[in-house]
C-alpha cells in the first residue's frame, strides 16, 4: 500500500494580489511504499520543501492529488501517523528537553503515563537523559537536533519525514542517526528524507527521486544505480549547471 501518493501535483506561489510568482512544482507524481526509506533530492529551489509541505498538509496543491495513508494530508487521522523533523530544529528555547517532548506528546494526544514513558525512552535513545531538565536554549546545535529528532518520534509515527536529518551533527552523531533511520525502517516505519549529503543518502535510502525546477528528473532504486548517487545527481541537473555557466560567460 502506498503511504504517500502524489498524482500530477502542481503548485504555484502567488503574491498578495494573487499574481503567480514561483512555479514550485509542475505535475509531480510520487509514490512511497510502506517500509521504504525514500530520498527526495535536488538542488536548492528544486521544490523539495514544497513537496514536503504538501505531504505535511501545510500547503494545498493547485492541481493534482496528494494522499497520506489514502487520506487528505491535513486530516487528523493522517497527522496521527506522521512524524516530522524540520531542517532547523525550531525548539522553544525556554523549555527543557523533557518538557519539549511532553509538549509534543500532548499535541499528539498521548495520555500522560504513555507520554512520560515514551519521553524517558526517547531521552535515553538520543543520549539526552543527563541534560533532560536543562533549557534547550543552552544546548549545542547537535543536542538541539537530537531533541528535535526525539520529538518527531514521540507519537510513534508510521511515516517519518526527515528534512536534512544530519544537518549540524558531528560524524559520530551522523552515523548514529543513519543507523537509527535504518533500524526504524526495519521496524516497519516508512521514511521520507531530504539531504544535500548524497553519500549519506546513498548509505541510507532504498529509493530516491531527484527534483529539478519542480519536476522529477531521475528516480529509481539506489541498488540499481550503476555509479554513485552523486554522479546520477550531477547528470540529472547538468542542464541547469550548463545554463548557469553559459549565462555567466555571456555576461
Amino acid at each position: 500500500m502506498a503511504v504517500v501518493e502524489l498524482q500530477g501535483v502542481s503548485k504555484t506561489f502567488r503574491d498578495f494580489w494573487l499574481r503567480p510568482t514561483v512555479k514550485a512544482l509542475d505535475g509531480l507524481d510520487l509514490s512511497i511504499e510502506s517500509g521504504e526509506i525514500f530520498g527526495l533530492l535536488g538542488p536548492n529551489g528544486s521544490g523539495k520543501s514544497t513537496t514536503i509541505k504538501l505531504i505535511l498538509g501545510l500547503l494545498s496543491p493547485d492541481a493534482g492529488k496528494v494522499a497520506l495513508f489514502s487520506r487528505p494530508p491535513g486530516s487528523a487521522a493522517a497527522r496521527k501517523r506522521l512524524g516530522y523533523l524540520p531542517e532547523l530544529s525550531y525548539l522553544h528555547s525556554f523549555m527543557t528537553a523533557r518538557e519539549t517532548l511532553l509538549y509534543y506528546a500532548g499535541l499528539c494526544g498521548l495520555d500522560r503515563a504513555t507520554a512520560r514513558e515514551r519521553t524517558r525512552q526517547l531521552l535515553e535513545m538520543t543520549r539526552l537523559s543527563d541534560v533532560a531538565d536543562r533549557q534547550v536554549g543552552g544546548f549545542s546545535k547537535g543536542m538541539a537536533r537530537r531533541v528535535a529528532l526525539a520529538s518527531s518520534l514521540i507519537g510513534k509515527p508510521e511515516l517519518l519525514v526527515l528534512d536534512e536529518p544530519t544537518s549540524g551533527l558531528d560524524p559520530v552523531s551522523t552515523d548514529e542517526v543513519k543507523t537509527l533511520v535504518k533500524e526504524l525502517a526495519k521496524s516497519g516505519m516508512t521514511i521520507l528524507m531530504t539531504s544535500h549529503l548524497l553519500a549519506d543518502a546513498q548509505d541510507v535510502c532504498t529509493r530516491f527521486m531527484i527534483l529539478n525546477n519542480g519536476r522529477s528528473v531521475a528516480q529509481g532504486a539506489v541498488a540499481d544505480l550503476d555509479g554513485s548517487l552523486q554522479d546520477c545527481f550531477l547528470a540529472a541537473v547538468a542542464e541547469r549547471r550548463a545554463f548557469s555557466v553559459a549565462s555567466f560567460l555571456k555576461a
Binding site: F13, R79, L107, Q135
Partner: protein, 438 residues
C-alpha cells in the same frame, strides 16, 4: 482539549521564563505605588480617593493591555514566521486550539496581575466601604423619542416650500434635506439623550423611578446647569416617598443628596406600585436645568467595596481577554511589526473613538474627508464596543456598584464568545498565511 492545555502551558511558561509576567506585575504595582505622588485630586478626601483609584487601576489595566497585546501579537507572528508554529500544526491538534490556548494563557496572566493590583487597592482603600446601585429614571426609550422627532421632522418637510414658514426653520430644514435617515436618527438620538428640562424658581419637577424597598440608604445624584452655562446657586428639596433631602450648592457640580426619613412627602405612593416619584422643589431664585437621562440618578445602598472590586476585576479581565484574543488573531495573519502596529492603533482609536464621536456629531462635519473619517471612527467604535463600553474602574471610583448582570454579560461575551470567534478566524488565517508565506 489536551492540545488546548498544552498550548496554554507552553504560553504560560514563555511568559514566566522570559520574565514577561514578572516584569508586568512589577510595572503595574510600581505604577499603583507611584500614583499617590502623582495625583491629589481636588484636595478633599473623597476627591483624592476618586482620582487615585481611577488612575491606579486604570493605569495598571492599560499597562496590562498594551504589554500583553504586544507580547501576544509578537510571539505568535514570530512563531508563524519562524516556522515553529508549523511543528505544532503537523500534529493532530486542531488549529483552533493553537490560537485559543495562547489567548487563554495571555488572558490568565493578565487576570493574575490585575488580581494582585486589585488586592493592593482593596487593602489601601478599605474593603468595607459601601457602594451604591445606580438607578436610572423610568423614561421613554431614547430610540422611541428619536423616532417621534423624526416623524415630526417629516411632518415639517412640506413647509419647506411654504413662503409663510419662518426663514430660520426653512434654513434648518434645507440643511437636513439631503441627510441620510441613519444620520438623522443618530442626531435625534443624541438630542434625546441631551434633552434639557427646565425647573423655574418655585416650580416642582417630577421624575419616576422603579419603586425601592429599602427606604434607608437612598441618595440622589444630580448635576444642575443654568442658562448661559454660568455657576448659579442651587437650593431645593428632594422628596421620594417619605424620604427627603435638601440641597444647597452651585450648578455644574455633581451633587449627592442623601435621602433621610422625615415627614411624608407629596410624592409618596403605595408600596405595591411599580414606580415611585422623585420630586424636586426649586427654592433658588434661578431657573435650573438638567438632562434627566444623564444628570439624574437614584443611588441605593449595595454591597461592599471588596465585592464591587471582584466584579470590576471580572469585567477588566474579560476586557483584557478580548484584547489578547485580538492581538493573537493579528499575529496569526500579519507579520510581527505590522501586527503590533495594527494592534496599537486599534487599541488607541478604540479607546478614543467614543469621545471623538461624542465631540464631533454628524451635523458638524461638512467636509467629505471628515465625514469619511467619522464613519471609520464609528466603525472602530462599533468593533471595540465590547471592550470600551464598560467602565468598571470609573464605577469603582464613583462608589457605584459594578452591575452583576453587566459583569456576567462581559464574562460571557468578552471572555468567551469573542475570543472563541477570534480563535476560529485565527485558525483560518493560519492556513492562508502559510499558503502565502513563500
Amino acid at each position: 482539549m489536551r492540545a488546548f492545555f498544552e498550548i496554554f502551558r507552553l504560553e504560560m511558561r514563555r511568559l514566566w521564563r522570559r520574565r514577561t509576567a514578572q516584569l508586568l506585575a512589577l510595572a503595574a504595582l510600581a505604577w499603583i505605588f507611584c500614583v499617590p505622588w502623582l495625583a491629589n485630586g481636588d484636595g478633599t478626601l473623597d476627591g483624592v480617593r476618586h482620582v487615585q483609584l481611577l488612575l491606579s487601576l486604570g493605569g495598571a489595566f492599560t499597562i496590562c493591555c498594551v504589554s500583553l497585546a504586544a507580547s501576544g501579537a509578537l510571539s505568535f507572528a514570530a512563531e508563524r514566521e519562524e516556522f515553529r508554529l508549523a511543528l505544532a500544526r503537523v500534529r493532530p491538534a486542531p488549529r483552533f486550539a493553537l490560537a485559543a490556548g495562547r489567548m487563554a494563557a495571555l488572558s490568565a496572566a493578565g487576570a493574575g496581575v490585575l488580581a494582585l493590583c486589585a488586592c493592593f487597592v482593596v487593602a489601601k482603600y478599605g474593603a468595607g466601604r459601601p457602594c451604591s446601585r445606580v438607578i436610572d429614571p423610568v423614561m421613554e426609550p431614547v430610540a422611541a423619542e428619536a423616532d417621534r422627532m423624526y416623524a415630526h421632522y417629516l411632518s415639517l418637510l412640506p413647509k419647506l416650500d411654504d413662503p409663510a414658514t419662518p426663514e430660520e426653520l426653512r434654513g434648518v430644514l434645507a440643511s437636513l434635506t439631503n441627510t441620510p435617515k441613519a444620520v438623522l436618527s443618530r442626531m435625534f438620538m443624541q438630542r434625546a439623550r441631551d434633552r434639557f428640562e427646565s425647573i423655574g424658581p418655585g416650580a416642582t419637577a417630577r421624575w419616576t423611578f422603579p419603586a425601592q424597598d429599602a427606604g434607608e440608604g437612598l441618595a440622589v445624584r444630580i448635576r444642575f446647569s443654568s442658562d448661559f452655562n454660568m455657576r448659579d446657586e442651587v437650593r431645593g428639596v428632594f422628596a421620594f416617598g417619605d424620604l427627603s433631602g435638601s440641597v444647597s450648592n452651585i450648578t455644574k457640580s455633581i451633587l449627592k443628596v442623601p435621602l433621610a426619613r422625615g415627614a411624608k412627602a407629596a410624592g409618596a405612593v403605595a408600596p405595591a406600585q411599580a414606580v415611585q416619584t422623585l420630586e424636586f422643589a426649586n427654592s433658588s431664585p434661578n431657573t435650573l436645568m438638567l438632562r434627566p437621562r444623564k444628570d439624574l440618578k437614584l443611588l441605593a445602598a449595595a454591597d461592599s467595596f471588596a465585592w464591587n472590586m471582584v466584579r470590576a476585576w471580572l469585567q477588566l479581565s474579560a476586557m483584557l481577554a478580548t484584547v489578547c484574543a485580538f492581538a493573537v488573531f493579528l499575529g496569526s495573519c500579519l507579520g510581527r511589526t505590522v501586527a503590533v502596529f495594527t494592534c496599537g492603533v486599534m487599541l488607541f482609536t478604540g479607546a478614543a473613538s467614543s469621545d471623538i464621536i461624542e465631540s464631533y456629531p454628524d451635523q458638524l462635519e461638512e467636509n467629505r474627508v471628515d465625514r469619511i473619517s467619522l464613519a471609520v471612527t464609528r466603525a472602530v467604535e462599533f468593533v471595540c464596543r465590547p471592550v470600551f463600553s464598560l467602565h468598571p474602574v470609573a464605577a469603582l471610583a464613583d462608589d457605584e456598584c459594578v452591575a452583576p448582570a453587566e459583569t456576567l454579560q462581559a464574562v460571557a461575551i468578552d471572555a468567551f464568545a469573542i475570543p472563541a470567534l477570534l480563535a476560529l478566524l485565527s485558525a483560518l488565517a493560519m492556513a492562508y498565511a502559510h499558503e502565502s508565506a513563500k
